[in-house]
């Protein structure tokens, strides 16, 4: 204990005298962003970690967990979104440390004799020495820090997939700077109030970790706005859990998007709301592709306006489908299978399925002589049964053949 405190106090004096003004500033601003530009590296400074440990008197003796340092870091750093250029800090840091080390060595040899490792110390001091290996200063994964950070450990127990979160831009950095008790708990309680279940929280945070860094008041304003638009509590819960980025959008943006869909589609307010509740990704995605898809449906595929409205209400996914795939599927369905527009309006789910699947199944039915899609005639096969049934059921019920026959037929195509 004496040894430790002596060494640390020596370093403290040196640090304070050498860089009295600049060092605390550097401490403050070094934390939040990535030191390296490409990886979401954590800037947990090992040297600076020792400094706060040493400054505090050894009354806790918490050898295993490093939560006091985390707390100190969380407290002393300013807002997590500070945008100081990382490269300059990196260079400045690289310049400082060799300097300090040299100074420490120089002055250390002169005034105080170094303590020997063979010095006899008491049992209490021996127990309180921290002998763990230092945490890496930079890392590209959160695996190195998860055992030493209570925040990360609690997130893992909630079900957040850290291996996916660390791949996102700056998300890992954000998680390391937040503290569970102070910041994350409030947001989790807020999400529970909105209506997200406990077992869904992990998945939600994996897809959108940035919500943990959001301001609670703005989140509440947005939920209040949605309620003012007459979305019910359970509906809002459904929307938020299906489109995790929804609450990151400001009120103006949400307003614009809802207005856009009302104007473009021309459906009634109730139907537009129903659509948005079923596919809330429409509100968080881009709007140009939606406009283009509507144009494609009208001009190239030749659907009437009311037919488009019906199709979009039944399968809103068509608004975000790729145009090339839409055109190819329609071409095959209309020109080769001979299905008219009104049948396609009745069963728009065919546009969601893979073209290869439709082709194979249609050719099998044509080979067997059962390709009959006109409801007026006998042995009619409806389009939704054609695409949505799994292979075995399709073979036995619709085609009235065995799976083996289907596979042999596939090999002749």
């Amino acid at each position: 204990m004496a040894v430790w405190a002596r060494q640390v106090s020596r370093w403290c004096c040196l640090l304070n005298t050498a860089r009295a003004v600049e060092f605390p500033g550097r401490l403050r601003s070094r934390g939040p962003r990535a030191c390296r530009v490409f990886a979401p590296a954590a800037a947990l400074p090992a040297a600076e970690e020792l400094v706060p440990c040493g400054l505090r008197p050894y009354s806790h003796g918490a050898v295993g967990s490093c939560s006091p340092p985390d707390g100190a870091k969380g407290g002393s750093f300013s807002s997590p979104e500070s945008n100081l250029p990382p490269v300059q800090q990196e260079q400045a840091k690289a310049e400082i440390l060799p300097d300090l080390n040299a100074k420490i060595l120089d002055e250390g040899w002169d005034d105080i004799p170094p303590s020997s490792a063979l010095e006899v110390i008491s049992e209490e001091e021996a127990v309180q020495i921290i002998a763990e290996p230092l945490l890496p200063l930079q890392s590209s994964t959160l695996r190195d820090y998860v055992d030493h950070s209570e925040t990360l450990a609690k997130l893992v127990h909630l079900g957040v997939d850290l291996s996916q979160v660390e791949k996102r831009q700056k998300a890992g950095q954000l998680l390391l700077t937040l503290d569970f008790e102070k910041d994350i708990k409030k947001i989790l309680l807020f999400l529970k109030d909105v209506g997200i279940e406990d077992n869904q929280l992990g998945q939600f945070l994996t897809k959108n970790p940035y919500i943990l860094g959001e301001d609670l008041e703005s989140l509440e304003t947005r939920v209040a706005y949605l309620k003012s638009k007459k979305f019910g509590q359970s509906e809002i819960a459904q929307m938020v859990s299906r489109a995790p980025y929804l609450l990151l959008f400001s009120v103006e943006r949400l307003d614009n998007r809802l207005g856009f869909f009302k104007n473009e589609l021309g459906l009634s307010v109730k139907k537009t709301k129903d659509l948005v509740i079923r596919l809330p990704r429409l509100l968080t995605g881009k709007l140009e592709p939606v406009k283009e898809n509507l144009q494609v449906c009208q001009i190239e595929l030749g659907f009437q306006r009311n037919e488009i409205q019906q199709i979009v209400f039944k399968t809103p996914k068509i608004l975000t489908a790729s145009k090339k795939r839409l055109k190819q599927t329609f071409d095959y369905l209309h020109n080769i299978m001979g299905i008219p527009h009104h049948m396609l309006t009745r069963f728009p789910q065919v546009f969601n399925s893979k073209l290869l699947r439709i082709k194979e199944r249609h050719m099998f039915l044509a080979f067997l002589g059962r390709a009959q899609y006109d409801p007026a005639q006998p042995s009619y096969i409806s389009l939704d049964q054609l695409v949505s049934l799994p292979d075995e059921v399709f073979c036995t019920e619709i085609a009235k053949a065995s799976m083996k026959d289907f596979e042999n037929f596939l090999k002749t195509l």
């Binding site: 806790h60 295993g64 695996r143 291996s163 596939l410 090999k411």
Partner: protein, 312 residues
Amino acid sequence: MAAAELAGVFAVYKPAGVAWGRVREAVETRLLRELNAAPGRAPRQQVRFLPASAPGGGGAVGLVAARLPVLADHPLVRGPRFKKLKIGAGHRLDVKASGVFVLGIGHGNKLLTDRYNCHLTRVYTVGGLFGKATDDFSETGNLVEKTTFDHITREKLERILAVIQGTNQKALLMYSNIDMKTQEAYELAVKGLIRPMGKSPPIITAVRCLQFALPEFQLEIHCLHETQQYLRKMVHEIGLELKSSAVCTQVRRIRDGVFTVDDALPRTQWNLQSIQEAIQSCQLKVETELEKTLGHGENSLLHQLGEGWRHS
């Protein structure tokens, strides 16, 4: 581990309209999903000293030893165990073609190189349609001309096929770089083993007409070093030779070395178990074929030439 045990060559049936790269990726994704679904190793345990809830005596801090799992090994922190598999592709098929497509996994990729060096023939079923010609020789290209085809009979077609086979036979003998005047060459020719063992332009070793129903016809082609577009061009040229025009409707590979359509796995069977069974069942015949061809090649030409020198 299951991924290390998965090694060998197997064949899948590539559907038409899909690029070969997508087929390879689909197989890889499916295998990775099944391998990652299996339970992994239990996490390492570590001993940590946690502060005791009730303080012991006086100033000394009570520490309790506890065995806890290392969180860095938790599946949510570590991620999936397998992220990539080494799957290599054999002789490729272009987008419009379908058929037997050989893939290799892990150590089986070395067998793929050996199979390439064997220069075994591949067999295709090529379907054609008389009456029109397009710019890329297939049905979906831009139309160039339309012609009549009533004058074409099966005999005329077979005469043209015989001419093609004859010219290709000469090319075969030329590119195989064997001196025709030796006894070894005669023995190889009797067994039908003369073929170019290095690079050569596409060579057709055998053609025959399977079906002929105007305007459609179907050919079976045995060839070496070919591309599917070359086969379509051949159909186009057959049309020109017959004083008409033809486009190719279907190119389907039914055999690649020792793998036939029966060995190929259809899309519904691209899963771990079927692939393992396929590798096992084809292993023996792949190895015998490789030994016969590559081992035979060394024995017949070099070895015997060496003996010839020693005798003389």
